[in-house]
Symmetry: C2
Subunit: 165 residues, 2 copies
Amino acid sequence: MSINPDPEPATAPSKPDLPDDPLALDNHLCFAVYSTSHAFSRLYRQQLARLGLTYPQYLVMLVLWETAPLPIKTIGERLMLDSGTLTPLLKRMEATGLINRERGSQDERQVLVTPTAAGLDLRAKAVGLPPSIACASGLDLDTLRAMAAKLTILRSNLLDEVNRE
Amino acid sequence: MSINPDPEPATAPSKPDLPDDPLALDNHLCFAVYSTSHAFSRLYRQQLARLGLTYPQYLVMLVLWETAPLPIKTIGERLMLDSGTLTPLLKRMEATGLINRERGSQDERQVLVTPTAAGLDLRAKAVGLPPSIACASGLDLDTLRAMAAKLTILRSNLLDEVNRE
DNA sequence: CACAAAATGATTGTGCACAATTTAAATTGC
DNA sequence: GCAATTTAAATTGTGCACAATCATTTTGTG
């Protein structure tokens, strides 16, 4: 980590006792990502309330609006979530009438997830969200695009390391 | 959102049916942040296992290694977490012997959190982590610093919007 | 064909996050 | 001086995340 924007002023640091401490919270990129993720989640919670969706449920709908039906496995690969997360989440979405779940006919192991008519209708109410959030971000589209691209590279590198054990 | 790096190639888009769909998952910066946060969490889970810490517990220790004792309120402001998250988390940390919790003497509402000797000793085992994670990120320090700075601005803008209702 | 290995989800258990409410203590306003 | 308000934590309830494990089905190989 060690993300300290100050080039060691040596005279008037904001934290005199920790001029360039790698263990300082503010030097942790992971915390910037973690806390920004929570900030997104809170803003989406407000915006998604009227759609009756949580943020992870919104992500599932994004995937299903692109392609459907899909097995849970594919949804999990797309969102990087496992069955321990998705099985109960999808059961809640089925209970609220947004999706249907049924075993695949040619492969009985799979559970195919399909949006209901209500789930498809929700898309029209969701189209206003991305522009609204982009506006709230206060950053221009080029900056947002550049951040997403760098984060995707970072994520890929981190996951490579995780899988290297 | 609308984070599409392609300037509308019109001829060979990677997703022919969704050339520049604002509702496409890959156009959501929030998902890049969300999934990168999970990737960090998984890598830290591996690295922190030998310290007996979860990632949020590690963040609490970072705060306490900077300043202690601290009331729960201050820890929550620093990490942007509320008492509903911190109270049980700190109780678990007390149970594992990393911190002590005691009511403040001058203000009986407060619970002051202090690292134990074991909690302070853990710092020596944690110093290797930030460089290890920075290496795993595969990005140079300037890039990491720049990302953290932009995320901090983004987070601030998002939270302003949340509090504007 | 048989049968071991792999793939797909479901289940179980732990630990965050957070909204909403409650309790108790401190502060304020009159 | 004391009721009304504010503040700090705790509690309650819901919903992710994820490791570990299990059951079922499919597939690969002799």
